[in-house]
Structure formats: C-alpha cells, structure tokens
Amino acid sequence: MADSVLFEFLHTEMVAELWDHDPDSDPTPGGQKPSLSVLEGMGFRVGQALGERLPQDALALREELDALKFLCKDLWVAVFQKQVDGLRTNHQGTYVLQDNSFPLLLPMASGLQYQEEAAKFLAFPCGLLRGSLHTLGFRSLVTASVAALPACKFQVMIQKP
C-alpha cells in the first residue's frame, strides 16, 4: 500500500491551503505565525495519537535520552521510513535531531532556494515530535531549522515539570 504517498500529498496540500486561507493573516511578520501554530497543533494531535500506538516497551521508557533515541529510530522509521541521522544533546534537556535528507523536504530543490518555504513543511513534524513525547510522558518545546535543503534540524527542549 502506498500510504506514505497519501500522507505526503495530504501534508503538502495542507501547507498550501492552511497558509492561504488564514483569515487573520496580515502582512506584518507576526502575521505568519498563526498558520504555523495551526499546523504544529495538528501535528501535536497526530503525534499524541501515534504515540499511543507505539509498542508497549516504548511506553515504559523513563529516561529522556532513551525516549529521544526511540523517536529518532522507531518513530522516524514508522513515519518517514528512515532513521534520524544524528542526535546530539547537552545532557541538560536539550536535544538536536539532525536529518540530512528529510522526506518532506525532498520534493523541493536542494540548497538554499526554498529555505524560507521549508519552515512551513516542518511545522507539522515539530508537532508530531512534541505530541509523541507528550504521550511518552515528556513535555517539550520543539522547533526546527533548515540550513540547506533537504537537511534540517529539530531542536527539542524538554520542560521540567
């Protein structure tokens, strides 16, 4: 079944449509934010639901680092058919996930041409990560940055209770 294709097409359409139709958007820089947070919020809901479908042994992970490693390998493979390429941490609650070839950015030209546009395609995955972490018992803040497509980084900051 060509499931990942359906998701990718749907996601692309969502980015295009939700961006355009935001009724409160205004030309100031702050005006862009509402649509990003809508996409992120949707990703969060889906991430929470996916988190509940993860194998039971995943739900028993108590250590932050184990949970992040699990997301980098198992969640990423389940959702994007590949693992995250690198994980770094300062051992103080901040983690950086490096993906050198992020599937949702692959359809766009590589390099710097679509750097600004890329942010729209990373909002949903940020929410996905945040939602899955939430189900695993961790509250977090997730942001993403793009240096040169299709590589991107996700910054995860675990919030202490």
Binding site: M1, A2, D3, S4, V5, L6, F7, F9, L10, H11, E13, M14, A16, E17, L18, H21, V38, G41, M42, G43, R45, V46, A49, L50, R53, L54, P55, K73, D74, L75, V77, A78, V79, Q81, Q83, F124
Partner: protein, 181 residues
C-alpha cells in the same frame, strides 16, 4: 535495540494510521474554522481536487493501466486498482443508468473514517470523507474525463453503506476513452 525497526509490524500500522489520523486532525481544524458544514465539505473537496490532480501521476506510474474503452472500465479501475493501492479496500461498482455514465462505488469499510464513530454534534451534514470525492474528480479531470463526484450515502450519517457516485460529464467517442500512459 536488536530488532531492525522497519521490520516490526506495528510500524506498518503506524504508517497507515498516519494518513488517517492526519486527515482527522484536518477535518477537526476545518470544523473549527468554518461554522457551516457546506463550507467544510467544499473545502475538503477543493483540497482533494488539488491532491487528485497530482495523485493521478503517481497512480499511473505505479499501476501501468492499459487503455480503457468505456466509462465502466474506468470505474472498475478506480475501485479495483486505485482504491486497493492507496486505501487497501476494493469498493463494489454498480452502474446506475442505461446511458452508462453514472456509477456508484459502494464501500463496506472506509479506512479514512476508521477512528470516527459518529459525526460531531451539530455536524450532521458533514461529508467526512469529502476529500475522496475531490481526489477522484481531480484525478479524472487530469486524464480529460470531467466528472461529478459526490457522496450518495454515508455510513457516518446512518446509512447502511458508504456510496460514492461518479457521473461522467462528456460523452466521448469510443476510441477517445483512454488513460495517458
């Protein structure tokens, strides 16, 4: 972890669920943004149309369907090849009129509504899976087969089955019925 992650069967299900869950989140968001069911339905159809115009390329690349000589063959291909490929189900096809340009796809099971038990309160006219109608319409239009596609029956609205009606709009000569290679 000793077992390769990609081989675990749970991940196959997660991959399938990803689309269905994302779609559910999208519908929920649209219900927040639009008060009227008709507006949500229209929006879903429009998004589906956009997806369909691109999905058809993917479909043709994967399926290598041969030339079709009738609307009824096309309806069969949609049900038996496309639905099977993307949603894992095979709707039954029925022809609704003697001029053979109106068809129905009858779905016993609808994977897109797998996690939906009933429509939200106050949303009784919502066509939850209207994206599907848009997708079919967009895909057909890209192969020069304009059609009207709507839900005729919907399990979520209390009907016994979910039925999608396809009405092909232009009468074509026999030799013009073909799908692009």
């Amino acid at each position: 972890m000793s077992r390769p992650a990609s081989r675990r069967p749970e991940y196959h299900k997660i991959n399938k669920d990803l689309f269905v869950l994302t779609y559910g989140a999208l519908v929920a968001q649209l219900c927040k943004d639009y008060e009227k069911d008709e507006d949500v339905n229209k929006y879903l159809d429009k998004m589906g149309y956009g997806i369909g115009t691109r999905l058809v390329e993917d479909f043709l690349a994967r399926s290598c369907v041969r030339r079709c000589h009738s609307y009824s063959e096309i309806a069969d291909i949609i049900a038996q090849v496309a639905f099977k490929m993307y949603l894992g189900i095979t709707p039954t096809v029925t022809c609704n009129n003697s001029s053979r340009n109106e068809f129905s796809l009858i779905l016993d099971k609808n994977p897109m509504a797998e996690f939906v038990e009933e429509l939200p309160a106050g949303r009784s006219s919502l066509c939850y899976c209207n994206l599907l109608c848009g997708i079919i319409r967009g895909a057909l239009e890209m192969v020069h087969l304009p059609a009207d596609v709507t839900f005729l029956q919907d399990r979520l609205k209390g009907d016994s089955v979910t039925e999608i009606g396809i009405t092909f709009l232009k009468k074509q000569d026999e030799k013009k019925y073909r799908q692009k290679k």
